[in-house]
């Protein structure tokens, strides 16, 4: 029997983080966006200890202010891309309002830290979502193009090909054969 499981990464991460912090006997409140307010001030040793406890699970305490902002931009983009009725949002307006900075500023910081642009990251995330919808929800390209606000199927196909180097149908074929190989 084969089951496909859909999961929400945000929920998993929040729950897991909560568990780890409780294990360390730390009182805290979450502010969303991966921001956490600890009730006490940790000294360097305590902070290092916390970092080393979280590191094996892929959690990293972000210290640099610009990196923090980039992480917020990324989270907001993911939120936007995974919204099912985002028809009315222009991404630049959405980001500027959500993060209270001008889009120009956000765009500069993002490029400075990641060496890639916000636009590219949005396309990357949209294509990732398209992959997921294709494989998990078994949606057709027409349905996906509509859901992700592409003007046409051709536009989605072209962007998919430009981003990954392969066509959507080749992608589906490859993943399907990989799964058969694993059986």
């Amino acid at each position: 029997m084969k089951l496909f499981i859909k999961f929400d990464i945000n929920t998993i991460c929040s729950l897991f983080l909560k568990e780890k912090l409780e294990e360390e006997n730390l009182n805290f409140s979450t502010l969303g966006f991966g921001e956490i307010e600890l009730d006490e001030n940790l000294d360097i040793e305590g902070l290092d200890n916390l970092k080393s406890k979280l590191a094996p699970f892929g959690f990293e305490v972000v210290e640099n202010q610009k990196s923090v902002l980039v992480q917020k931009i990324k989270d907001a983009i993911i939120e936007l891309v995974y919204m099912d009725d985002n028809n009315n949002f222009k991404s630049s307006v959405f980001l500027a309002e959500k993060l209270n900075h001008s889009y120009g500023y956000l765009s500069n910081v993002f490029s400075e830290v990641t060496y890639s642009s916000i636009e590219n990251f949005i396309i990357l995330q949209k294509i990732e979502r398209a992959k997921q919808l294709m494989l998990v929800n078994e949606m057709s390209l027409t349905e996906i193009a509509f859901l992700l606000n592409y003007s046409s199927v051709a536009h989605l196909s072209t962007q998919f090909k430009n981003t990954t180097g392969i066509t959507p149908s080749a992608f589906q074929r490859i993943i399907k054969k990989r799964r058969e190989n694993l059986k």
Binding site: F121, E128, K131, T164, F171
Partner: protein, 149 residues
């Protein structure tokens, strides 16, 4: 962008190609530490060394003596502690069949060997940046397929 250098392992039997890559990595913006092996057997021995730091990305030439890149790819994907390494195949072949075949066997990236230095630098930059996004943005690595020419 990254506090620690990215570990790159490059398997290629051609010395010129190795130098070409080495120079290109020195010029990319992201800090990298590049290790070289000369053929498939040496690659597998290197990866099987106990307690070794595994590479973040393995660049694998398809056409190598003793053990081909494809044989190495299959072996790596079958080995529990190695199968999550991101693998970038590079080859002079641009046959659609070869490309799809290596993706099916588990490669993440397929690079057509470029002939000029600037293209190589551009390709490496793209691979490193995308790899970092996959690393930091909760993207599903099973769906990480990229073809560059």
């Amino acid at each position: 962008m990254q506090k620690n250098a990215l570990h790159i392992l490059l398997a290629d039997d051609d010395e010129d190609d190795r130098l070409f890559f080495k120079d290109a990595f020195e010029e990319v913006r992201v800090q990298t530490k590049v290790t070289f092996v000369h053929d498939g057997l040496q690659l597998m021995e290197h990866l099987m060394t106990p307690d070794i730091k595994l590479p973040d990305i393995l660049f694998l030439d398809l056409n190598m003596p003793k053990k081909t890149g494809k044989e190495c790819l299959i072996e790596i994907k079958k080995t529990e502690h190695l199968k999550n390494i991101i693998i970038a195949i590079y080859s002079t072949s641009s046959s659609e069949e070869d490309i799809e075949d290596t993706f099916i066997e588990g490669a993440n990236i397929y690079i057509k060997k470029p002939s000029d230095f600037n293209t190589l630098k551009k390709i490496i930059n793209e691979v490193v940046t995308l790899n970092w996004h996959y690393h930091t943005s909760g993207l599903n690595r099973d769906n990480f397929l990229l073809r560059l020419k």
